[in-house]
Amino acid sequence: MWAYKLNIPSHWRLLSERYRLVGGYCENCGYKMFPRQKVCPKCRSENVKAVELPKRGKVITYTIVQTPPRGFEYYTPYALAIIELEDGTRVFGQLTDIDPSDVQEGLEVEMTIRKVRVSGESGAIAYAYKFRPLLERE
């Protein structure tokens, strides 16, 4: 479906968000957001600066997709989750390096960069953040 072809300009515009998790920090009220908005959703200040967000967080809620949209057939079933980062900012993304049946609320995760979608056989390949479980550490 043509409306769903990955287009390169819109991906390129968002590389700092998709590779580095750059969000917004309101210098007026201290609220952090993802993505950065021109106007703070809490205090409506326009004094919102770009800030790199923490790369670790935990799963707030999740779902396992069984009926994918075009372009995600290969990954199905896959887990999508709302993640709360260590500073309280929320982001949404796919979980990786985990069996979907092992996902649960509260799971500790960290950001990683993975292939998210491709645009046909000869089109662009888009990489972006996904979240993987933290390794068990001593």
């Binding site: 993505p35 396992i64 069984q66 009926t67 994918p68 709302i82």
Partner: protein
């Protein structure tokens, strides 16, 4: 303030209309509504539709619909608010009539979904209601976002899988004798629980079907031309927005915009939730139906499933909910749905609903939701004595 009135209604059956185009469906509904209203002179047309550009390769529906019913020359535009496009069209028609500039306005909600025959493409088209850059890009489908809401809601209020089954079971029961409904068969709790998982924990039977349909209304001022024998008043309407993306909401188990829209509609109508005699909720998914009932002030948080299971929401109950089967069973041709809801209420409030008629309702409310709660429009209708 003189309230706008609904002078005529018309709609098609909701189905996979393989032989009918978007234009065929829209013109059928429009002509029925015009005829029902006694063919007044239409001064403007508002078309509600979500996905015609993506699915049918056709935009500029204002011109398409006007020409299809011989009204070229009349001002006509499409409005879009995802799944709330239908109610958005009704609201803009009301504003047009209230402005005094257009005395009689035709509203047509239409969605021709089955021109897309692959599930993956349908899934992508519906997902345009969500945030492309931060949700859909990562593989989010519309059901998957609602599934996260369902999981959070079930955890927070301790609902079992069965608790979500009460609503779809009631919706299917209601649709059996409704001629224009898409799914006219009953389902059981066992059938609900065993239906395939689409996006865990959300099941197929939590979800409204894919279908084609069009619904139309003629909205006029009280001085408007036409036959007003069965007219119904639009006593109030209200609208509100929330974050486009689900993850950016503080509490995903509550529909902030739905509460605001309800408050605004009730304020305009000078009514309260206790005045409702009949309710049309947007049960695109079971959990969203429950959140509608909370936002409308009908049930306490986490108690909607008990209200449905108690029988109070049945056609013969204290407060009937979706007597025509709602989105789940009447069907959900997306951009038409909000117009179907209001058309069905108008028939109920003029005692013309046929087998689904409830006893003597005076006030009805319809809630139409765009996205997972990002755009909500509520209309309150009242019988004209």
């Amino acid at each position: 303030m003189q309230k706008p009135i609904i002078a005529g209604v018309g709609f098609t059956k909701i189905s996979a209309h393989w032989k009918s185009s978007l234009k065929d469906l829209a013109s059928e509904a429009a002509l029925k509504a015009l005829n029902d209203a006694g063919n007044p002179e239409i001064k403007a047309i508002v078309v509600g539709n979500m996905m015609s550009g993506i699915i049918n390769g056709q935009e500029n529906l204002g011109s398409l619909v006007a020409e299809s019913i011989g009204l070229q020359g009349v001002p006509s535009v499409k409005v879009e608010a995802a799944c709330a496009s239908g109610a958005a069209a009704v609201m803009w028609a009301c504003l047009s009539v209230l402005s005094g500039i257009f005395e009689s306005v035709l509203v047509v909600g239409v969605e021709k979904m089955t021109d897309v025959t692959d599930n993956e493409d349908m899934s992508s088209a519906l997902a345009t209601a969500a945030d492309y850059d931060y949700e859909v890009f990562f593989g989010a489908t519309f059901p998957s976002l609602n599934a996260m809401i369902m999981r959070s809601y079930a955890e927070k209020y301790n609902l079992s899988p069965e608790d979500f089954g009460h609503l779809p079971i009631l919706m299917h029961k209601n649709a059996v004798d409704v001629a224009h409904a898409q799914l006219r068969f009953p389902i059981t709790m066992e059938g609900y629980l065993n239906s395939p998982v689409i996006s865990d924990p959300l099941k197929l039977y939590d979800s409204a079907p894919i279908g084609d349909g069009a619904a139309a209304l003629v909205i006029t001022s009280r001085d408007g031309a036409g036959n007003l024998d069965h007219a119904v008043e639009i006593a109030g309407f209200g609208s509100a927005t929330d974050t486009l993306a689900t993850y950016r909401r503080e509490d995903i188990t509550s529909l902030m915009a739905a509460k605001l829209a309800t408050k605004r509609a009730l304020s305009m109508a000078a009514l309260e939730p206790k005045d409702f005699d009949i309710v049309q909720i947007h049960d695109a998914f079971s959990v969203i139906g429950y959140l509608n009932l909370e936002a409308l002030g009908i049930v306490e948080k986490g108690k909607a499933h008990k209200f449905i299971a108690s029988g109070d929401a049945d056609r013969s109950g204290a407060l009937p909910v979706n007597p025509e089967g709602g989105l789940k069973a009447r069907g959900h041709p997306v951009g038409a749905t909000g117009v179907y809801q209001i058309a069905e209420l108008a028939l109920q409030l003029s005692d013309r609903a046929g087998p689904s008629q409830i006893e003597n309702p005076n006030v009805g409310v319809a809630m139409n939701i765009g996205g997972t709660g990002a755009n909500v429009i509520v209309h309150v209708l009242r019988r004209i004595e």
